[in-house]
């Protein structure tokens, strides 16, 4: 890792999305929103909490994407959310927590990974042997985690209803605004984008969450495309596996001063 530059440790890029982990996608999107230069390391080491992504900056090692963001906000004096009134900050927080502690389980875990595992593996071009292992080991483990969490004790239809209510709620809150809290993007937009982009770009088209976003909650689909256009202009290059030349995400050395000059020009 290069001194003075944030290194994001995350799973390798595969599939039609820069990351099929909503947490990694959220973290990278936040770094881009905050204009913090970063490098990625795909060598797959998990943090001591058994979680990925995690970040390193010089001597600091931070695990859990939310703690990473809180750290980065302090370290780089990020002002994305400063203009928000206390009530809006509170609304942002409850959406954030709902998306990650509830909606995530019903949509990404149950709908995408458990219910439509074959298509998900196909989209991500996972080799046959790995698919077999995933079905034998990871899927039962996910079901156990969902049972522990509580949500896994419900029927399929109840889980779908739970997820649908959450997505309907954020669709209503977004309304016709470009971003969740107004005209400018704030941290919670990165959080929600991380999840929703995975439900519109990296999932079976038979999944109920995909259909809901594409057919009924169109403002959420439009939000994903908007965020993608602004913060991921290199989306196609990344998913095609081309060498990354984006200033925010390079495996070559980065000159932080050069990056800041470019940011100031943007």
């Amino acid at each position: 890792p290069q001194p003075g530059v944030v290194t994001v440790h995350e799973i390798p890029r595969r599939g039609p999305i820069p990351s099929f982990s909503p947490f990694a996608l959220k973290l990278e999107t936040f770094l881009r929103m905050a204009k913090i230069p970063y490098q990625v390391d795909h060598s797959d080491k998990v943090s001591k909490k058994g979680k990925i992504p995690w970040i390193e900056l010089d001597e600091d090692v931070i695990s859990d994407s939310t703690f990473c963001i809180e750290y980065l906000i302090k370290k780089f004096a990020v002002r994305l959310d400063n203009h928000l009134c206390e009530e809006d900050k509170a609304i942002a927080r409850c959406m954030w927590k709902m998306i990650e502690e509830n909606t995530f389980w019903a949509t990404v875990v149950q709908d995408r990974t458990i219910n439509h595992i074959d298509e998900f593996m196909k989209i991500c071009k996972v080799p046959f042997v790995t698919v077999v292992l995933i079905k034998l080991i990871s899927v039962p483990r996910l079901k156990k985690l969902m049972y522990s969490h509580g949500i896994g004790r419900h029927s399929q239809e109840e889980i779908r209803h739970i997820g649908q209510q959450d997505l309907q709620a954020i669709s209503t809150i977004l309304g016709t605004k470009p971003f969740f809290l107004g005209d400018s993007a704030t941290t919670v937009d990165a959080v929600i984008f991380g999840l929703l982009a995975n439900l519109t770009h990296c999932i079976s088209e038979e999944a109920w969450s995909y259909k809901l976003l594409k057919n009924d909650l169109k403002n959420l689909d439009d939000f994903v495309e908007r965020m993608k256009d602004i913060y991921w202009p290199d989306w196609n290059e990344l998913i095609e596996g081309k060498p990354n030349t984006n200033i925010f995400c390079s495996q070559d050395s980065i000159d932080p001063d050069a990056v800041m000059d470019m940011c100031n020009e943007l």
Binding site: E86, A90, M95, M98, E101, A169
Partner: protein, 247 residues
Amino acid sequence: MAAVANQDKDAILMYHFPRASTIPSASPFALKLETYFRMTGVKYESDLTGKFSKKGKIPWVIIDGKEIGDSAFIIDYVNNKYNIDLDKNLSDLDKSIAHCFRKMTEENTFWASISYGRLVDNFPWLLKQLGVPSALTWIAKLIVRRRLLKNMWGHGIGRHNGAEVRSIAEGDIRSISEFLDNKPFFMGDQPTSIDAVMFGFLAELVWFMPPQHWTTKFVTEEHSNIAEYCERMKAKFWPDWEDNLKK
């Protein structure tokens, strides 16, 4: 305590934990459900023997001969059956905001404050409150607490250390306090369904956390609008609070 012998056939039979000494229920979900019944005037009777539902959870009810678990599903069912809508004067936007607050409270804050404070830390206190004989403490720790810790690991919150969990809980509770501000009820001048949720949860922090636990001071001193809100809800919907405590 025995189950109610002559049940009023119109009353819903609610299964939940025995009364605690400082609060009608140790479970924020049971307290929410009971408060909701009181807010809507729906008749209910309690079976306080602590029987768990088929999904392994409490509270649960029997309505129309059916067992229904999960406080949220029970509320939906009752709303449909009796044509009740506590939220009819809320805009769709306000309903959506209330929904997000409910989910944060039940899926995140609950684990980080109540579960953590009573199960991970201070477990013997909880057992004593629930009347578990001290001879059984070791087995309760081995079996019940271990399972609950496993649940928390599965959920994700169990992977953080105590300081991290506290900062998560503080952030959530602070948001609740900021949003509530000086309004009489969570969404405004009138009580709505989110008030059952919020009271069910916040009352636990005010009245039933281990002695000296940081949450109680947090909601009674640093964010005192929360304690004041709980007093208001208690006065309005639980005038018989004292009669519903363990003697």
